[in-house]
Symmetry: C2
Subunit: 197 residues, 2 copies
Amino acid sequence: MVNYPSGVQPSRAAGSKKNKNVRYGKRGMGLEEMINEANSYYLVNHLAVIHKKPTPITVVHVDYPDRSMAKITEAYYVQPSTTDYNGVVNGRYIDFDAKETKNKTNMPLKNFHQHQITHLKNVLENGGIGFFILAFTNLAEYYLFPAALLIDIWDKSQLGGEKSVPYNLVSKQGIQINSKMIPSLDYLPALKSFFKI
Amino acid sequence: MVNYPSGVQPSRAAGSKKNKNVRYGKRGMGLEEMINEANSYYLVNHLAVIHKKPTPITVVHVDYPDRSMAKITEAYYVQPSTTDYNGVVNGRYIDFDAKETKNKTNMPLKNFHQHQITHLKNVLENGGIGFFILAFTNLAEYYLFPAALLIDIWDKSQLGGEKSVPYNLVSKQGIQINSKMIPSLDYLPALKSFFKI
């Protein structure tokens, strides 16, 4: 459990350093920053409570340089068992992850991981709402895409099917998230419209 | 943000080492272990999807002893902004924290923190279900107690009211969680009954 797990890339796990170099959107924010901004906006304006989960870390050793401070000196990333985001909208449980690609014609399935798919299957089975936010960064286009469709594509890919989600399918079956000033990635209207909540 | 925050005790943050010495329940499990066991049981048996959130940690430095391993060598605990547990039951969003005391007559409010109260207020405002699991360890009694009542008691305490929740109130206004073999803390029936879901 303490070795570096598959499905957690160093760049992502260590605070999305890689993603910070990918700048897009009118205010130069990365995808995670835009979602965090939207979530803060929804919280302050009483529209929803949605948080990003902390990255799971196993702590092995902690030093206490003084009474009021704990310094972790040995710890390891562990494989998450869920997606990154969940919360409540109008009493309904919602759960999602965000994926981005520079490709203009498809979203590669290598961006997704089995534990995310399994978790979203469980969420759907228990009446929750599951989806992905898919970002085509070089098109500056963002889509809400239902988990049920992605799970179907994933399961077929495991049996030898396509290893990516075509852009045309995303734009047809998903719902585009409009750009706004504040928040810049205002995904809540798309979510409420798509799932009728 | 990197100093040791109030509301995160070393014992808790470093993996509940302190709590591991408090043994109770017929199989000698701590409160957190019992809740995790119940959550695993609910997941496997398709009854609910409820997870404990990872402890939030800010990573400052990571070493890579080899390509497949990331060793965190400097990191700090940060103040959480939510409770420890959330998930979905029959499509409804549920959110809770667990508290324990050795007291037999009351649950001290010092076990609770402002960020947990604020988060649960937000959850309730957005139609979610919020509660606490309160454990009186020396009585071996466990209760589900609604967040709305606890928030009311907390707000009054800030204005000079009582600094604890009387056991009598918990046993009267909460709902007792019955002990079982598997899972030992089967809180889902109490939850579904209390909130009628």
